[in-house]
């Protein structure tokens, strides 16, 4: 994936670019808003990672300009401002996701991944399938190997999110934001508990586990290789 990092903190940008490259991506870096805009307008990027506060041209205006030109490249905002209002401003300006500093690098990777795959047809699919686990969005019905699994509303939401991001790393923060609409860290293992409950319903009694815990990062729902 080609990723453009627009970030004025040189040290942070250096690590980010290094990390992205190590993870198998191609990453470019711009240190201010004007350079960033010029590079982004050149096109060819799959994702932009944009700091909100940038010299010369701030992140919000930069993305606003891109969107005004009809460029719909996915944008992930990075910001030290973590208020709900700041977040809403970022998303209104055309951002697709918003990550508050400080963040874990795996979080950034997972978000980038999610943003790029959002374009794929699974996003709007009404019938999700991972191995023999199936979810009918319209009927809100879940089956595994043809056996119906009864889920509570939140468990259903959790599973739907995991299935829409099947094969990807999904972090705890992503789940909190997207399933519970919580934009803060509850500082407990509360998500782990929900995951283990869900796991008990969809994996217990079946030979191949589908819901995996990625240590120190999050979870992934995926079909066996």
């Amino acid at each position: 994936m080609r990723i453009l990092v627009i970030e004025d903190d040189q040290e942070a940008a250096r690590y980010m670019v290094k990390g992205l490259k190590e993870s198998g991506h191609v990453a470019d870096h711009a240190a201010d808003g004007e350079d960033g805009l010029a590079l982004a307008e050149g096109g060819g990027y799959d994702v932009l990672v944009v700091d909100r506060m940038l010299p010369k041209l701030d992140g919000l205006s930069l993305v606003g300009r891109l969107r005004a030109d009809g460029d719909d490249v996915p944008v992930l905002f990075l910001s030290a401002l973590g208020d709900v209002d700041d977040r809403v401003k970022g998303l209104k300006a055309g951002g697709d996701d918003y990550l508050v500093k400080p963040y874990a690098f795996v979080e950034l990777l997972a978000r980038i991944d999610a943003l790029v795959r959002r374009r794929s047809p699974e996003e709007v699919a009404t019938n999700l399938k991972v191995a023999d686990l199936e979810l009918d969005v319209l009927a809100r019905r879940v089956t595994r190997s043809g056996t119906e699994i009864i889920l509570q509303p939140r468990e259903y939401g959790l599973l739907e999110y995991l299935m829409r991001h099947a094969g990807q790393l999904v972090t705890r923060t992503m789940l909190l934001e997207n399933v519970w609409d919580y934009h803060f860290d509850p500082q407990t293992n509360v998500i782990d508990v929900h995951i283990s409950r869900l796991r008990a319903k969809i994996d217990k009694g079946f030979e191949t586990p589908l819901l995996h815990t990625i240590r120190g990062s999050g979870y992934s729902l995926r079909a066996p290789d």
Partner: protein
């Protein structure tokens, strides 16, 4: 700071304006009384004289000069206030009670005023008289008048009492103004003095309150409340700085030693990777602590007080319950939520969720397996009451204030994970929402209650 001069005080200026207005009113009133009284009395005198002259003129027409002089003589003997003089053409007296024709000028209307000597109790006094002059046939003259000395004396008395009243009004007003201003000045100076002491670092100083409940007392009360708030914030900040330094130093130190030791190991060994992973986890905990501190600071500084919006507390608590119920059940706790629908308050949904979450998290953390956790939210009159009760060990009465302080974790709970910031955030959120936070005995266990006002703040 310069001393305020008495004459420059607002109180004194207000008193002066009132004094001038009041003085002018008094003056106008007295002048009116004076002029009407004096005017009526002059008119009465003139009427009496005119009537007498008319009467005497009739007598003259009926009885001639002889008859007139007889009547004049008679009246001169009886009348005490009246003055009569009948003269021949040479202005020599024929009859009457004054001895000579007065030297005063006669006005065009035939009036004249003049001094004359009058025996009073054996002594001769000079009185003023007012008289009218009537010319008879063949140059004979008649003068009829009245003593107006008494009236003049009365007028004099009125004039001087007028002056005295005015002087008294002004004098009392000035004196009152002086005392009111001085009192005001003294109280304001007390406020100024306290301000200076506070600026000099005496944050614990307070403005004296007289107890009269007047505007200055209210001002002093508000200033004191403000000072108390500032003092609380500053003390809190000082304490937090100390606590941060103390509590964050040990994990940072641990990280440093771990990395130093790791450097001595072979790279790519299992220990190497494990140690890096542990360091990342430790730094995550540190960041978590910093984030919690930031949230508290944000809530405490009243950040977003203007962004408070209508929030349904019932929904907030239900969402949090859905998140934490699983955690409670995992631990073998009975979790019940009794929520009335539509509990509308004004607030910050995100912070409220965090506060409610922290309360549930604490309850779950400190209640041993088999216990119960009851969350309830209901409307009580004009208030919305949220309560999170557990059957854990509770908090001893004397420690209840302590646990609200940042980083404080009671000795018994040192072993459980957590930053010790949970209740501090709850308290900050309560403060931001003007909600009342109380820790009560659930016997056994702890009941934390938040009481919100439903009126928009």
């Amino acid at each position: 700071m310069p001393q305020i001069r008495l004459l420059g005080t607002t109180a004194f200026r207000v008193v002066m304006v009132y004094l001038i207005l009041f003085g002018a009113s008094v003056l106008a009133l007295l002048a009116f009384v004076y002029w009407t009284t004096a005017g009526i009395s002059t008119a009465q005198t003139d009427d009496t004289i005119r009537a007498e002259i008319t009467g005497l003129a009739e007598q003259y027409r009926a009885g001639g000069l002889v008859g007139l002089s007889q009547i004049v003589r008679e009246r001169s003997r009886n009348q005490r206030q009246s003055i009569y003089l009948l003269t021949d053409p040479g202005r020599r007296p024929i009859a009457g009670n004054i001895n000579a024709w007065p030297e005063a000028e006669t006005t065009a209307e035939g009036w004249l005023e003049f001094p004359y000597n009058r025996p009073v109790g054996g002594e001769i006094e000079t009185h003023l008289a007012r008289a009218r002059h009537l010319s008879l046939e063949a140059g004979f003259q008649l003068l009829v008048g009245r003593d107006i000395q008494e009236r003049l004396d009365l007028e004099q008395v009125m004039r001087s009492s007028l002056a005295w009243s005015l002087a008294l009004t002004l004098g009392l007003g000035l004196l009152g103004g002086y005392f009111i201003s001085r009192n005001m000045l003294r109280r304001i100076e007390a406020i100024n003095r306290t301000s200076r002491e506070v600026m000099a670092g005496g944050l614990e100083k307070r403005v004296p309150v007289t107890g009269s409940g007047d505007e200055l007392d209210q001002l002093a009360g508000n200033l004191n409340a403000m000072l108390a708030q500032i003092e609380r914030l500053i003390t809190g900040m000082r304490q937090v700085t100390e606590n941060i330094a103390h509590d964050l130093r040990s994990p940072l130190n641990r990280m440093r030693s771990r990395l130093e030791v790791t450097l001595m190991e072979e790279p790519d060994s299992d220990g190497y990777r494990e140690s890096i992973r542990e360091t990342i986890e430790e730094s995550e905990r540190l960041l978590g602590t910093f984030n919690a501190l930031l949230e508290i600071a944000r809530a405490e500084s009243g950040h977003g007080a203007d962004t408070l919006k209508p929030v349904d507390l019932s929904t907030v608590v239900r969402n949090a319950s859905e998140l934490y119920e699983a955690l409670a059940e995992e631990k073998g706790l009975a979790f019940t939520a009794e929520l009335e629908p539509e509990l509308n308050i004004t607030g910050d949904e995100n912070l409220l969720s965090q506060a409610v979450g922290n309360l549930m998290d604490n309850a779950i953390k400190y209640t041993p397996g088999g216990g119960t956790i009851t969350v309830s939210a209901r409307k009580l009159g004009e208030r919305v009451e949220l309560s999170v009760a557990d059957s854990g060990p509770g908090i001893p009465m004397d420690k209840r204030d302590d646990v609200l302080n940042r980083f404080v974790r009671l000795e018994e709970s040192r072993s459980s994970p957590g930053s010790g910031l949970g209740l501090s955030l709850v308290q900050a959120v309560a403060l931001l929402h003007r909600a009342e936070l109380s820790l009560e005995d659930n016997s056994p266990g702890l009941r934390v209650i938040l009481r919100f006002s439903t009126a928009p703040s």
